[in-house]
């Protein structure tokens, strides 16, 4: 049995998050991910997955790219580079999911944009850091905006039906329960009424931003906090019973929730219309000139050739990225494939001809296996508590 190559833990070329030492001390299996040494799992990846679905897990996601913008032209700039319309964000603390497009409508990255007092924070993927920053530089042009990359801010995701309650318990920040989904709360830290002028986007980041967002299909928060605070929060959450979970569980959780992974399910050669992300493109108002608009309008007129769809395997085995899919409308390819710990069978996202429906065949290790096209999400979120007043209906937002 050949053992797949492990990435060396002490590779000097890999960046460390502020939680690196904690991961090593916990015996995590580390892997190189987009230039970062990250925990793939601490023990059993499947147990970590179940812990998030049943109660709560914590993830180190400090490798994500975080950029703070300010300046009078920032809103106009972000309305130009993000295909969703940041003008929907009416007040500080509101957030939206969107994609950055190239002129051809290809996806450069997916992002969450948070509106703040006096500016915005944009969180994008780790693997695309250089490409995205270069894109901002190339496209800022005449827009009166400035930005700073937040290399001094860590990010911890707390996810699961008990995540918000356990986070509130561990930090004393009870207010988080009132923060609605796809909204963020900013608190100075330590919380002090004397903090001058509230939290401003460009000032030194001694404040915490607590966003009710995530990438697991569960309720929870993503906490952006100064590097020196990260280990304290991690220990407090772990002591409160939140289980550390690695990138392995994060991948199976996001796929069960039907969430795309950049670089796998979408990239610069695919448009949001072809990637199940049409809902993230704001064509209205019609006079907003965002990059990629012309290409998407043309594609909308002619129709897409292929689509990204959910697939489920009915036979035994595990679908993996790159496997061939045979449909009633032609061939396709698995883009993401896993064994779903929740469902007990293999699920995936595949790029297939637009007209493909129903039963399919998947070529698993040389043999055709039976599967079917299904509509993600593959698993439904369990509702633990009554939604906060005014909470959005689930399904409206990305996760």
């Amino acid at each position: 049995m050949p053992i797949a190559e492990q990435c060396p833990v002490n590779d000097q070329a890999l960046s460390h998050t502020p939680l690196f030492d904690i991961h090593i001390a916990a015996g995590a299996k580390m892997t190189g991910f987009a230039g970062w040494a990250m925990p793939i799992r601490y023990g059993s990846q499947i147990e970590e997955h179940h812990a998030v679905r049943a109660s709560a897990g914590i993830f180190d996601v400090s490798h994500m790219t975080m950029v703070d913008f300010e300046g009078p032209g920032t809103t106009a700039f972000l309305r130009h580079v993000v295909a969703n319309d940041v003008a929907k964000l009416k007040a500080a603390g509101e957030a939206l999911y969107g994609v950055l497009l190239n002129e051809a409508g290809g996806i450069i990255d997916d992002v969450i944009v948070y509106r703040r007092e006096g500016g915005y924070r944009v969180v994008s993927n780790a693997a695309t850091r250089e490409r995205v920053i270069a894109w901002y530089v190339a496209r800022a042009g005449h827009f009166d905006t400035v930005w700073v990359e937040r290399d001094d801010v860590a990010m911890i995701a707390v996810q699961g039906p008990d995540a918000v309650a356990l986070f509130a318990q561990a930090t004393g920040l009870a207010r988080v329960a009132e923060c609605r989904r796809f909204h963020a709360l900013e608190v100075p830290h330590p919380e002090s009424p004397a903090h001058p002028g509230g939290v401003r986007s460009m000032e030194p980041t001694h404040g915490w931003m607590i966003a009710r967002t995530g990438y697991t299909g569960e309720d929870g928060v993503e906490v952006m906090l100064p590097d020196p605070d990260a280990s304290g929060l991690w220990h407090a959450l772990a002591s409160a019973g939140v289980r550390p979970a690695g990138l392995g569980a994060r991948d199976t959780l996001r796929l069960e929730a039907g969430l795309n992974l950049y670089g796998q399910d979408m990239d610069e050669t695919t448009t949001p219309l072809e990637s199940n992300l049409a809902w993230t493109v704001a064509f209205e108002p019609a006079d907003r000139e965002f990059i990629g608009r012309a290409a998407l309008e043309a594609q909308r007129a002619t129709g897409i050739g292929n689509k990204l769809t959910g697939i489920a395997l009915q036979d035994r085995g595990v679908m993996r990225r790159g496997m061939k899919v045979v449909t009633n409308a032609g061939e396709g390819e698995v883009r993401s494939g896993i064994f779903s710990p929740t469902l007990g069978y293999s699920i995936g996202l595949a790029r297939v001809p637009r007209a493909a429906t129903g039963d399919i065949g998947i070529l698993v290790r040389g043999r055709e296996r039976r599967g079917r096209i299904v509509r993600p999400p593959f698993t439904k979120k369990k509702v633990k508590a009554a939604p906060a007043p005014g909470a959005r209906k689930s399904g409206q937002t990305h996760d």
Partner: protein, 133 residues
């Protein structure tokens, strides 16, 4: 440190082989292998009465991470397979040298067992491959 019992012999491809009292060779994957693979979610076994050759593919183990071929450590005829792995593949992680066994072979000869590593050699082999990565 992973467990490497001295009553088994080991292939470079991380299968263990143990000669039973009845003369059959029981095969599984090592503790080191299951640790590297992560959670096993699916196992494909050979069929009883199937002829297998030393070093040739005799099954597949799928973990959360990847699919890996299982190679027969010795040549012979498959006389038993561990059907409980079908519903409980996690036995490979929980008890790799016991309930997580894969299949048993009636060996063509006893010589091929000698070609495999003993526990000390295998431990060294695993350490060397760790260091070499």
């Amino acid at each position: 440190m992973t467990d490497t019992p001295t009553d088994a012999r080991y292939a470079e491809t991380h299968e263990w082989a143990r000669l039973d009292d009845d003369g059959n060779v029981v095969v599984g994957v090592s503790d080191y292998a299951q640790e590297q693979l992560g959670d096993v979610v699916y196992v494909e076994l050979p069929e009883v009465d199937q002829q297998v050759d030393a070093g040739a593919e005799a099954g597949v183990v799928e973990s959360v991470k990847a699919a890996s071929d299982i190679y027969a450590p010795v040549s012979g005829t498959v006389v038993a397979i561990n059907t409980s792995l079908e519903d409980a593949p996690e036995l490979v992680n929980q008890d790799p040298y016991g309930d997580g066994w894969f299949f048993a072979i009636a060996p063509d000869s006893s010589d091929e067992m000698e070609d495999l590593m003993d526990a000390a050699e295998y431990s060294e082999f695993c350490e060397a491959s760790e260091a070499g990565e």
